[in-house]
Assembly symmetry: C2
């Protein structure tokens, strides 16, 4: 039975939850397919997530391997293929708790970087799991700066082999997933040396474990890097290479080849690599970043209408905590952001698909824009969503802090997204570099990519809003965001030029501007996110109340951004103090409006109880019952040796002697 405090929230929905779910899925047919996948996976006890919060790192790893192997079997039985419509829902349905993700990266890197011959040899082996692959790029001492990698691969003309080595401890491969315990093979990135000359970083296929008994191959030292903040189920590993010899054919050679005599030949375009990183950054947004935020919102909002605390009005029942303005102010902007980023993800996907088509026609013109947008949005969305999950966790008070709420795991996992696939600050600086370049070009009257044409139009007007209702006009707030993005880019460009003209060296000048460059990059992404949300709302069908509630969320997303960053808008007087008060008033009004639909808005995300795995967030809102039931199963309720060893002697003897 559904908790009446939660049930009542659903009776007053202003829109059709089912229609909104279909919109998020990209159509009712997609919803149907997704639900079928979820149903198939959740009804299979092998995929159970029960007791997950009680498991050790070793148990989590074993379960992830078991699930990965079982998944192969189930996919075969269900007729699901890697190219089928079901595939993209599997990982989400498993909540990511499965091994061999790096095996897929291993395969992708061979497909992208390998010659036709290499693809023909390795891909079938990998597809049939006759080996388990990994991808060994990062080293103990090297992450972001690939040119700094220290692993070496020296070509030996005599034997037609590469000799791989870890010359010092900082060169040890560190972090590769699936490598600590599972992988038999990996793609190692190493500095290629031929006849004493260094040719830079290249990828090599290296076998690290025996296919017979899984023992480490000669010259290989490898293992697991130990506990992390999350990802207990993944065996992130380390790898030391000592004179490991591999045949010449194992260097992935689509773009570069070493001939038998040691001649180095570079061929084809490497721009595609650039594009690969873009692919990964865009693809992680949905599963790794948006899903956790949507889950956290679901948990925190459902809990906030079930939890009652203190009295809002004297003499009445204790109030639902979502009725407090401060609680609304914590949670509802996160909900709005989840929707905003869902739509920007659609925008990026579409841009990416367009770029991909162009690249296939050997047109690389879109690459810089695509790189700048994917870098910037990867950083902005991961940062925003990580902060959002943390806010949801804290907003649930003590119960949010229990692992049983599901929120700590969501937080500790999403946090990693700020670091992997490009550290966020570095990514934002790449976006900023693009912005500065385009701003200079635009100022000189040269053409620039579509997403930055606005930089050319530096306007010195003022915000025309005259009442708080004017701030519910998307044109008004979108223009304010645009103004800020232009101002931050142009002022930082000016500072950069001033420094250089005053004699500061170019790289020093750049470094002295980086704090402000990061701000400019964020402002650019924020502007595009707001603009895209407003344009998306514009195009929605008006029936079933969908457009109306999405308009409210878009307004909230935009006004929350202004309210939390007023200085950027006030700085040059574009927005006046009086207008800022209107923003505040409209923003606070919106909280009360959206609060009414908060539960239907998270219901539309359509997470099952199994996938939320939260004692606070389940569909029926039976929070306290579930917390109690789950706690009783905890291993901490087994008998502890501490009593016999320490407590008994203490209570009976130890201190009575004092």
């Amino acid at each position: 039975s559904v908790n009446p405090d939660l049930a009542s929230e659903r009776q007053t929905a202003s829109f059709s939850v089912e229609k909104l779910t279909a919109l998020l899925d990209g159509g009712a047919e997609q919803t149907r397919i997704r639900r079928a996948v979820v149903e198939a996976i959740e009804s299979d006890p092998e995929f159970s997530r029960e007791n997950q919060y009680f498991q050790t790192q070793n148990e989590r790893y074993e379960a992830a391997v078991r699930k990965a192997v079982h998944l192969q079997k189930r996919m075969h039985e269900m007729g699901w293929t890697e190219n089928g419509p079901e595939y993209k829902y599997i990982y989400r349905a498993l909540s990511g708790d499965v091994a061999f993700l790096l095996h897929r990266v291993f395969m992708r890197s061979i497909s992208v970087l390998g010659s036709d011959k290499q693809i023909a040899k390795w891909i079938p082996l990998a597809t049939q799991h006759k080996l388990i692959g990994s991808y060994a790029q990062t080293e103990l001492g090297h992450g972001t700066y690939l040119q700094g990698l220290e692993t070496t691969a020296v070509f030996d003309t005599a034997t037609q082999e590469f000799i791989l080595n870890t010359p010092k401890i900082s060169a040890m491969k560190w972090w590769p997933g699936d490598m600590g315990r599972s992988a038999t093979h990996t793609v190692v990135f190493a500095q290629l040396y031929i006849h004493g000359k260094c040719y830079g970083i290249h990828p090599f296929i290296v076998q690290i474990r025996s296919l017979q008994d899984h023992s480490l191959c000669p010259g290989i030292t490898a293992g697991d890097i130990g506990p992390k903040m999350n990802f207990e189920h993944i065996d992130n590993g380390y790898l030391l290479l000592k004179n490991v010899r591999i045949p010449r054919e194992n260097m992935l050679s689509k773009f570069c080849e070493v001939r038998p005599d040691g001649t180095y030949v570079r061929q084809g375009s490497q721009k595609i690599n650039y594009f690969t990183m873009t692919t990964v950054r865009i693809s992680l947004i949905s599963d790794e970043v948006l899903t956790p935020l949507m889950k956290a919102c679901t948990i925190a909002i459902r809990y906030s209408v079930v939890r009652r605390q203190s009295k809002l009005k004297p003499g009445e029942q204790e109030a639902k905590i979502l009725d407090y303005q401060t609680q609304q102010e914590k949670l509802l902007p996160q909900l709005a952001a989840a929707y905003a980023f869902h739509f920007i993800n659609d925008y990026l996907q579409e841009l990416f698909n367009r770029g991909y088509r162009e690249i296939q026609r050997k047109n690389f013109d879109m690459l810089p824009e695509l790189h700048a947008l994917s870098s910037g949005f990867k950083a902005v969305i991961t940062q925003h969503c990580t902060a959002g999950v943390e806010i949801c966790l804290r907003a649930c008070g003590g119960h949010g802090y229990s692992l049983l709420s599901g929120l700590p795991s969501l937080y500790t996992k999403i946090l990693a997204s700020c670091i992997y696939e490009g550290e966020n600050t570095i990514l934002l600086l790449q976006t900023a570099r693009f912005l500065i370049k385009c701003f200079m070009a635009a100022s000189a009257g040269q053409p620039v990519p579509p997403s930055v044409t606005y930089l050319a139009a530096v306007k010195h007007g003022k915000c025309p809003a005259k009442s708080k209702l004017d701030f519910l006009n998307p044109d008004i707030y979108t223009e304010a965001y645009q103004h800020v993005a232009v101002r931050l880019t142009s002022s930082t460009a000016a500072k950069l030029q001033d420094l250089i003209q005053s004699g500061v060296k170019k790289h020093d000048a750049w470094n002295q501007c980086t704090v402000q460059l990061v701000q400019a990059a964020k402002a650019h992404c924020h502007y595009i996110a707001v603009k895209n949300f407003a344009e998306t709302v514009e195009k929605l069908e008006t029936k079933a109340g969908i457009q109306k509630i999405m308009k409210h969320l878009c307004d909230l997303f935009a006004l929350h951004g202004i309210f939390s960053n007023t200085g950027a808008f006030l700085h040059d007087g574009y927005t006046s103090a009086a207008q800022m008060d209107m923003v505040t008033a409209s923003y606070l009004d919106l909280l009360a409006v959206i609060r009414k639909d908060a539960v239907p808005l998270v219901d539309a995300f359509d997470f099952t109880d199994q996938s939320l795995n939260s004692a606070l967030g389940s569909y029926d809102g039976q929070v306290y019952q579930r917390l109690y039931e789950w706690a009783q199963k905890s291993p901490t309720n087994q008998m502890s040796p501490a009593y016999e060893r320490y407590l008994k002697p203490l209570l009976h003897n130890t201190l009575s002697k004092l």
Copy 2:
């Protein structure tokens, strides 16, 4: 041997690290005592924290109990007593990883709330550990709002007993530390009923486990609430009471008594309770909040001068990451905040001591101010320091995400401080209530407590700064902070009055202002922190370079606060856009200045390697060696059954059948 990249940082210190350590400790003699305690504890293998990151929750609990019992023995041997000068350093030296903290709260509550007779009976038993106590206040459904607690204690005149019950699941006690597995007794807070009439919440001593065999007493259901984000070493528990009878003498009766005939007598002042909460909130700041931030700064800053990544200048060696402005902008403000909050902690302690002396003279006048300041600062400092630790973690990239860095544990533990001992938002609203009250009083010409007299002096001037150097003048920035605090308080007071005058009911009006009230409370605390830091610097001795570097940190703390919250200062034109650009320039300049002393500034915190327990942060900076050594000890490097069970069949058979 010390990593040369770290060693070089120490050679250029602009001040005496030893003198700064003594300043932080409150004198060289205090430093000596602290180090002796640390030495005694760290040389004792029973207190080792080695392998802590590999332990399960059960192992952590057992270790904490073992340490707590061993500590009793060691204290006796060392001659350390609860009133001795060593006592306050013990917990810090153990990094909090010890059981029976709630036993102390049990004792304190009896001392404060019990009659002389009760104190005489229970305190010796507890001191000698003839029982283990806990403190059961929070319930599954009730935290902040004590009046809402649902546990009942019905007085039975016939038997002269109280009958305790958990009438429904939300009334179950939930969270009390030491109660899940260890405690034999606890202080239960329950609604007192006599002859059918409710007299509100009262404290009762209840035995929950047998002193003979530790089995649960009749009518008691209790256990551990399961895994949490941290505090694995603590057995936070649950407790259900079913017709549990305790003698009349077990109600703590310093302030209220139930006579044998059921007559209820209230005696004495309950204001002291108010004061107890204040005590706890102030006392947790140092050990639970400042220490973690200081440790995180130590780890992240030492790592940032050892880690080299990318090139700052073409052709040169890769740069230390602390040389990047963006890295400085992440870490150095956290360092400045650690110092700022250390000094505000001194201020609060002193205020508290003064208040305590007054209270002993039955003068309760200081209580409201003390309550407002301790609530506000508890919230502001826990929030700021939690964010700071997270920034330090992220600033260490992937390695920060490894448990071996020590940073994840610091983060997951400090996060709880935002929730316990008063949820932060609620505390800030208590401070705000005090501010509004004082503002109204001051406006009406009535006297107000010292910390808020500034509210009376609403000035409408402008910031007089004319160059970026003016913003290194504490008078300039302190006044700017003051101006913002006054503006936010007065404008919210005006909004509140407007709403009420327009017919909105008082409690609704309050709720509609809470987002802004929270801002006002934060601004008030921030102002006092800046003012106190500036005043502290003023009084420091000028020799040994201490005052100079502290002045830099004070400036950085103040300007970072303006830079990250420009809107508050720009809003009414007190600070102009041109002045804000000066703030930015001065702020960025300061980063480069303080960067030079960053390592000596964290060395001064004087953490031992054992207490940091971090592969990244040790004194010698041998980061990579340590990460590798520690990882090899991880249980994830033991043989996993996953190979035989899943990988072997997969590699050999499963998929070749497909």
